[in-house]
């Protein structure tokens, strides 16, 4: 959080490359996360339904409760660290403009809704998978925007 106290980040020869590196790896993580989810848990309503509830026709077992909870637990930890770090950088480089605050709010709310809708889908109703898929992509797109915008502001603004 030291970067929140530095007056001019663009002129800081140490903090600028450190933040650029962090943003670069956050972008890599966000893109990789989509591919990894596609290969495992699923990123469409149909594939996530198969993962959570299995399919007798396709001889697929549903995910166990313990495995699901572990997956959810790890997801919460990673997402909270990423959106928190990213939001502080984004707020800092955008000088806390009103539009930046709106974007941060949308990113935070959509990521929280995606995390909450997951156990709701598993324990209560598969309809919540629709909400999960929509919010999953919303927060990923907003996070990617925040990361790219922050990089641009650090180097070209």
């Amino acid at each position: 959080m030291k970067f929140t106290l530095i007056k001019d980040l663009k002129q800081d020869s140490v903090m600028k490359p450190i933040l650029s590196g962090l943003l670069f790896f956050i972008i890599l993580y966000l893109v990789s996360d989509i591919f990894v989810k596609d290969l495992g848990f699923g990123i469409s309503v149909h594939t996530i339904k198969l993962t959570l509830f299995g399919s007798e026709e396709e001889f697929l077992d549903p995910i166990t409760q313990a495995s699901f909870l572990e997956f959810w637990h790890v997801e919460i930890f990673f997402i909270m660290m990423i959106v928190f770090t990213l939001s502080t950088i984004f707020i800092r480089v955008s000088n806390a403009s009103k539009s930046a605050i709106v974007i941060v709010n949308l990113m935070m709310i959509s990521s929280i809704i995606s995390l909450i809708s997951l156990p709701f889908a598993y324990f209560f109703s598969s309809e919540f998978i629709n909400i999960y898929v929509a919010t999953f992509f919303i927060w990923h797109i907003l996070a990617l925007f925040c990361a790219f915008y922050s990089l641009k502001r650090l180097h070209y603004a």
Binding site: S87, I91, R92, V104, I116
Partner: protein, 151 residues
């Protein structure tokens, strides 16, 4: 610090509560809050066909938690710097209690399988202490954050 960072901190607090909730659910699903069931998880239970845990098995389980607990506690606790309570004695007690409880929450399973089954009480109590104290830190944060004069 800018006023806008309040948003990040407040959302981070919500995520933390969600993480604690998922932790409670996993503990209940895998280990259990009942002493006998929790003990069976570590030393094995023939009736339930649960194999006893080994040192290597436990180490594999606790490895990500060593880093995870440390990072979460560092981030959550360092927010106390921004509160009006930062120099109070009870905050120091809170800090050390959280760090000690997280240590025993992670490492007490080794004591259970290597020294005595009695340490199952340490495992369960340290879990509850940690889970109870983090929301108190978040409450102190909420209580102070509205009154802080940000730049």
């Amino acid at each position: 610090m800018h006023r806008a960072y309040k948003i990040s901190i407040l959302y981070f607090s919500l995520f933390t509560l969600l993480l604690l909730m998922s932790g409670i659910m996993i503990f209940e699903a895998k280990i259990g809050f009942d002493v006998q069931r929790a003990l069976g998880y570590y030393i094995g239970n023939k009736e339930l066909f649960v194999a006893a845990k080994t040192n290597g098995g436990i180490l594999k389980l606790v490895l990500p938690h060593i880093f995870g607990f440390a990072l979460l506690s560092m981030v959550v606790l360092h927010f106390l710097i921004f509160t009006k309570f930062r120099n109070r004695v009870f905050v120091k007690v809170l800090l050390y209690t959280i760090l000690v409880s997280q240590f025993f929450e992670i490492f007490s399973p080794f004591l259970i399988i290597n020294i005595s089954e009695i340490f199952i009480y340490l495992k369960i109590s340290s879990f509850f202490i940690y889970i109870s104290l983090i929301p108190i830190v978040l409450y102190l944060l909420f209580d102070s954050i509205a009154q802080i004069k940000f730049r």
